[in-house]
Point group: C3
Chain length 207, copies 3
């Protein structure tokens, strides 16, 4: 219940960030809807394809796809207004990251997969939407050289699995994971926490 509500908030917010990226590439409405949908539900789609978990969420629930398309098109009209609320978006995005991660981890658990794969399942759900957005819009993916993002997803998935393993009920586990993950993500943005970078000069590379 809680996750469903948060999921819908999450895909709406992610769809809007996707639409803004499409706008920077001067795409038409179809492009906006495509990038918005890929950003919002691409992570879950990639996860389900990797795990062979059919039918995909949006095939079973077409309304999710309607939400992301509508959110994308609305963004084209509200862009100047949305941009003023940048802070709200960073918060919604942080929430979405943790909620998507929990949902993805749950899919892995429900399929009886190895805990390591459950974490990967959560991670893919959490971060691949943004990765797809940046690939389609031809930007070097932000998730790969910005503040901690994927790491938060991994930490949230580990915490979630650990608490469940410890015998805690699903609801408190979910709430604790959301609170910790959201707080960590906002702290990472605030204090610019980053993973170490790996920098190699072009002429040094093997290929």
């Amino acid at each position: 219940m809680l996750l469903s509500v948060l999921y819908i908030i999450g895909i709406t917010a992610e769809a809007m960030t996707g639409a803004l990226s499409a706008g920077r590439r001067n795409m038409d409405w179809f492009g906006v809807m495509l990038v918005a949908s890929a950003t919002a539900i691409g992570g879950g789609t990639v996860r389900d394809i990797l795990l062979g978990h059919y039918p995909l969420g949006w095939v079973k629930h077409p309304e999710f796809l309607v939400i992301t398309c509508v959110a994308g098109v609305l963004t084209t009209g509200l862009a100047k207004w949305i941009i003023k609320f940048k802070g709200v978006f960073i918060r919604l995005d942080a929430l979405g990251l943790v909620v998507f991660t929990i949902i993805g981890t749950n899919v892995g658990i429900s399929m009886g997969l190895h805990p390591f794969i459950c974490i990967v399942s959560g991670l893919v759900t959490g971060v691949f939407g943004g990765l797809l957005r940046d690939l389609i819009c031809r930007q070097t993916p932000l998730v790969l050289h910005e503040e901690l993002y994927a790491s938060i997803s991994v930490i949230a998935a580990c915490l979630y699995l650990g608490l469940l393993e410890y015998g805690i009920d699903t609801l408190p586990t979910t709430i604790a994971t959301i609170v910790v993950g959201y707080t960590l993500r906002m702290a990472a943005v605030r204090f610019k926490w980053r993973l170490p970078n790996f920098k190699l000069d072009s002429e040094e590379a093997v290929h």
Copy 2:
């Protein structure tokens, strides 16, 4: 029967446009065959993966893949000649778009999916080949900022579903959809119909 013949014409024409794009990137024959095949049968492949509709068309009918590879390699020799017939290609591409859309919509219907997902299935089949071509060749996808293309696919899928729903037989429905879709696409190219664009300055974007 009719659709099969048109399908083969469609994948041949699409393979040739893919090969021309590969040529602009100075690829070798393998690259040409890859881009030609991705352009021609990539849309159906993405659709089948999204819907979990196995085996893929070209796995069951390897001859389709042979056709696209041969068409791609032939294009390398005939490029100067092909380019003179640009008008023919635009017509074949318009035909391919509508035929691919109908085939994709049919797959959705045969799997008993929601009408909205059937339309998405037609759309993915119609436009993802060109999208893959442009991603591999590192161009901002044409379909996202050119004359109506995806929209024609959606209109054709809706018309097709609507006529069937109305009780019209498959053959007249197919012919009517092809005629209307083809005419609309050619009109869109002729009169430069476009969807509204969404333009956002880079510094204004949230991310």
Copy 3:
């Protein structure tokens, strides 16, 4: 047995080349692990998704994913040292190409697919990892305009299928394919064998 050992050597070497590419794009550790894993096990993943061959290798054997992530991160520390052994990498990469191709061809055979699709299965396994690496790192894929690479994969797959068809046992067939494929690849690098290129001026293209 033999193939398993060679497979692990292959994914380790490929993960390292992926990590070096990520380093040229100045990615963080997560990016390094992502590109390393995509390079090493992306080919098999794409193959399994195209063939509907579930569960994926690394979902069943999470240790493969652990190996590629660890190899990627180790590479960040050892890059300057690794680059000195460029020759070793070219050899390991040649070995990996043939081993991956044989494994992919075997998957096609075990699924009872058409020989042409078995060859495609070997080809996808052999070359799509490098293709994914170059797409994520936004380079025009090397495989598409360098020394013979995909062609070696096709030749190896044909030889492997041919010898098996001829009634030769699996072990000698595997060894012969590895020897011939590896030798051809090294010769291609040495003598700069290439497929014909297809070069088309931009203004000449249809699209």
